[in-house]
């Protein structure tokens, strides 16, 4: 009975780990669509392989110890010496530090620094995204390349959600959309994030882009989309009742398609 139990418990841990690895190997992340995203995926792949290996090894060791321990009538003759304890702990601790920190230093930090520290390329499309409960207000600067001023006191959710100042010439050619962003494939995108009310988070799963939109701050993200297609924008910071359906659309187009799109959007908005 005791050995049966031992088998069952052993198999529980061994089976759990094997099933886990099998399940995990079948899971795919959202299709990659950005340049820096390859770096993030490399970081994740490294971690999945190393951690997956450690996980499997650990659980199999646990299963083995259980299987073996249940069979023993007496404890093993040798007790661990202080030296063994120190060596084993030291070796494994060091090994883990190498795996964890090594991964960060070799793969992670370069990606992080490149993402944040690199100067914004000159040909980047700049887009102003103002999050609110529960939609994404999107604004392009228009031909003059400048955004018009906004004033919270002028905000009207139906007619002027951004609170654009009507007399500001820079704002006259701004193109405003709701929940729709289009960009050009292989051309850098620079998104300035703002929020009107609470913290939201601009999440593009396919592009490995996530940045909190914090009221009172204007954080930026810069990235390069590398495949055309239709993608979704999700909110990744609890923002209230409709947080789960704060959905936007991110279109990656050819240059020509983009120009058409932009023209359509500004025509739809009508003159102001």
């Amino acid at each position: 009975m005791k050995t049966l139990e031992g088998w069952l418990v052993s198999l529980l841990f061994a089976g759990t780990a094997i099933a886990g690895v099998v399940y995990g190997s079948g899971i795919r992340m959202p299709e990659l669509a950005s340049r820096h995203g390859a770096g993030i995926d490399a970081m994740l792949a490294y971690l999945l392989v190393t951690v997956g290996g450690l996980f499997l090894a650990g659980y199999l060791a646990l299963a083995y110890f259980i299987w073996r321990g249940v069979r023993r009538a007496e404890i093993g003759p040798r007790f661990a010496t202080r030296k063994t304890e120190i060596l084993l702990s030291g070796a494994l601790g060091l090994g883990m530090a190498v795996i964890a920190e090594g991964g960060v230093l070799a793969i992670g930090m370069p990606v992080w620094q490149e993402y944040f520290a690199a100067a914004t390329p000159a040909d980047a499309i700049t887009i102003d995204v103002t999050a609110q409960q529960f939609m994404w207000n999107v604004r392009y600067p228009g031909p003059d390349g400048r955004f018009g001023r906004t004033d919270p006191r002028l905000v009207d959710d139906s007619s002027n959600p951004l609170g654009l100042v009507p007399d500001d010439p820079a704002g006259k050619d701004d193109v405003v959309t709701l929940n729709e962003i289009a960009v050009v494939v292989n051309r850098p995108v620079r998104i300035q994030l703002r929020s009107k009310d609470v913290i939201h988070s601009f999440f593009l799963p396919n592009f490995r882009v996530k940045q909190d939109a914090v009221p009172g701050m204007t954080p930026e993200v810069v990235f390069v989309p590398t495949r055309t297609g239709e993608f979704e924008i999700a909110c990744a910071e609890l923002c209230g009742l409709a947080h789960y359906r704060m959905r936007g659309f991110f279109h990656v187009l050819t240059a020509e398609q983009f120009e058409n799109w932009l023209r359509l959007q500004s025509a739809a908005a009508g003159g102001r």
Binding site: L47, F55, G69, I75, L88, S89, V104, R153, V214, P215
Partner: protein, 596 residues
């Protein structure tokens, strides 16, 4: 009722010196308003278990919603007419349920049962003391804790319902009443409850630290203490130092909410079509203050779990724990490191990228002591003669979940990886495995192990083992899968995944998780039945049914008021297994050492 939790006449309330006999106090002073640490410990445990039932009920609601998003649960609409009209949960109720599930489980279940409950019960016994250093303060801490729990539950009944901004309560969502219904009075009641909780926890923490420092029995040096005591000692110091910034933040949030200040609220906020008059505040300030507590808090919860597992393991391997001294240093190291890594919760918050690098590199150093500690637990099984009692099964589960959950930390502490995983189900899977899994299994292990000592009766082993099987397997399945939901991009705190194309394929996985959750929660009835039944009908327990070495096993089950007849004199360290003495293959700490 033939169960009893205190044997014998009461003894001197002083922690040292002779024990004059006093007249027997009545039932109320013995079992209700008692200053006896054992009664207070049991009070915390029982209160925590009741709160766990509330927390589990909330979890059931969450999984019903996520597993079957369009289903009408008509029988629930009768129980919860406001939250689930015609059987479908409203988003506002869902957010309140999520917020309160987290708050209740972290503070009112794990902290109550594992940290305050078992901490109060075990620490004086294991250091050979008659009681805690400050017994009256201890009693006060329990009643304030109970008040905080009742207050938190009462928040469901106020206008707008319970707080709904997540247990993390980020402003402006938590600061402005119109931002979400729970931010009306619910959030205020939440803050008041937390203030009471922190006061109670501070009193408890002071007691544990003072007791370990100053009331240890003669011969009990720090390096002879059980790892349980070490873990409570460090966890208490952490709590004392880490909670005050949350107190400060809570005061500031209350002022922002009700007195027009702008600690966290910037200018130009437009909520419910009104421009708010606030200026200049920083939402990030809340995050820094909250996580300054929030990160050490999870170590406050998990350290006792690990310490307890290290006490239970050797009793059923009949060998000492592997690497005791090193494990002690690991606990100290983790305690210290945990105070300087809070920013890993804020990698995409708008915090400077340079801070992100710092927090990432330092966070990952925690892998070193935690790996060593985990390996020490695993290595304790080497050469062991295993007895698979229920307590042992749960302790093995602790090792397993600590390993898999801890490895998830390598992803989240890595700033680059976290860019994709922040605020997704990867985080939910990780923290549930750690502060839901490791702590839950350790709690059960502790109950099965020390129930005989506390109540003088044995729990039923068959039911206990069934309970383990019904707990470990579904628990692992649920939270392992959630890591992968996160990798697939599923964000946290979503009422449903039905609004996004890219999340449609998670539907099947969510269904599987919800079914497993129902199995998990049903399995807990095995435990409740066992617990209650054994209180009245369990076999009588001897003083040392597990042949364990620490001091609590030298006194009767249950111990009398005042614990020890004479102050024990400690001659050995805490894990003297594998030696031959007249008692068998172990030596209790008070047995004289052969080598002088």
């Amino acid at each position: 009722m033939s169960t009893h939790v205190l044997g014998g006449p009461p003894r001197s309330p002083h922690n040292v010196g002779p024990a004059p006999v006093e007249h027997e106090p009545g039932f109320i002073r013995r079992y209700v308003f008692s200053t006896d640490h054992k009664i207070i410990g049991i009070q915390y445990i029982l209160t925590g278990l009741v709160m766990a039932i509330a927390g589990a009920a909330l979890a059931t609601l969450i999984r019903l919603q996520l597993g079957w998003p369009e289903h009408h649960w008509l029988w629930l609409s009768r129980l919860l007419p406001v939250g689930m009209p015609s059987g479908v949960m409203t988003p506002e109720f869902y957010l309140a349920v999520v917020t309160m599930h987290g708050t209740i489980m972290v503070f009112f279940f794990v902290s109550f049962v594992l940290v305050s409950g078992f901490g109060n019960y075990l620490v004086p016994l294991q250091v050979g003391a008659r009681d805690m250093a400050f017994p009256f303060l201890n009693m006060l801490s329990y009643w304030i804790a109970l008040l905080s729990a009742v207050t938190m539950l009462a928040s469901f009944l106020v206008e707008g319902g319970a707080a709904a901004a997540g247990w993390t309560a980020y402003p402006p969502l938590s600061a402005v009443a119109a931002a979400v219904p729970g931010s009306q009075m619910g959030q205020t009641v939440w803050l008041l409850s937390m203030a009471l909780f922190i006061a109670s926890f501070t009193m408890s923490g002071l007691n544990i630290v003072a007791t370990v420092f100053s009331v240890r029995a003669p011969g009990l040096s720090m390096m002879r203490l059980p790892l349980t005591v070490w873990s409570y000692f460090i966890a208490s110091i952490l709590g004392l130092l880490a909670f005050p910034p949350l107190t400060a933040a809570a005061v500031m949030l209350l002022l922002d909410r009700h007195f027009g200040t702008s600690f966290f609220l910037p200018s130009g906020l437009i909520i419910a079509n009104k421009v708010l008059p606030n200026t200049g505040g920083s939402p990030l300030l809340w995050q820094h203050l909250f996580w300054f507590l929030g990160h050490p808090e999870v170590y406050v919860l998990i350290l006792p779990a690990l310490g307890i597992a290290c006490d239970i393991l050797p009793a059923f391997t009949r060998k000492p724990v592997f690497g005791y001294r090193i494990s002690v240093w690991c606990l100290v190291a983790v305690g210290c490191l945990s105070m300087i890594v809070w920013g890993h919760h804020m990698f995409v918050s708008g915090m400077s990228p340079f801070s992100g690098e710092y927090f990432s590199l330092v966070t990952l150093t925690i892998t070193v002591p935690m790996t060593i500690f985990g390996v020490n637990m695993l290595a304790s099984l080497w050469g062991a003669k295993l007895q698979l009692t229920t307590a042992m099964l749960f302790s093995l589960g602790v090792i397993a979940l600590f390993g898999s959950g801890g490895l998830g930390g390598l992803f989240l502490g890595n700033a680059t990886a976290d860019m994709q995983l922040h605020d997704t189900y990867f985080v939910v899977g990780h923290f549930h495995m750690m502060i839901g899994g490791v702590t839950l299994l350790a709690t059960f292990g502790a109950i099965y192990f020390w129930f005989p000592k506390m109540f003088g009766r044995m729990m039923n082993e068959t039911l206990g083992k069934l309970h383990f099987w019904f707990t470990f397997a579904p628990f692992f399945l649920i939270f392992f899968m959630q890591h992968f939901l996160g990798l697939q991009g599923a964000p946290r705190r979503y009422y449903a995944f039905t609004a996004f194309d890219y999340l449609q394929k998670t539907r099947g996985q969510n269904l599987v998780i919800s079914i497993a959750a129902m199995v998990l929660i049903s399995g807990q009835f095995l435990f409740l039945v066992n617990f209650v039944w054994s209180l009245f009908r369990g076999h009588r327990a001897a003083a040392n049914p597990w042949h364990a070495t620490t001091l609590e096993w030298t006194v009767a089950s249950p111990p009398p008021h005042g614990n020890f007849d004479a102050v024990p004199v400690v001659q050995r360290w805490a894990y003297e297994y594998g030696v031959q003495t007249i008692d068998g293959d172990f030596a209790v700490q008070t047995v004289p050492s052969v080598s002088a």
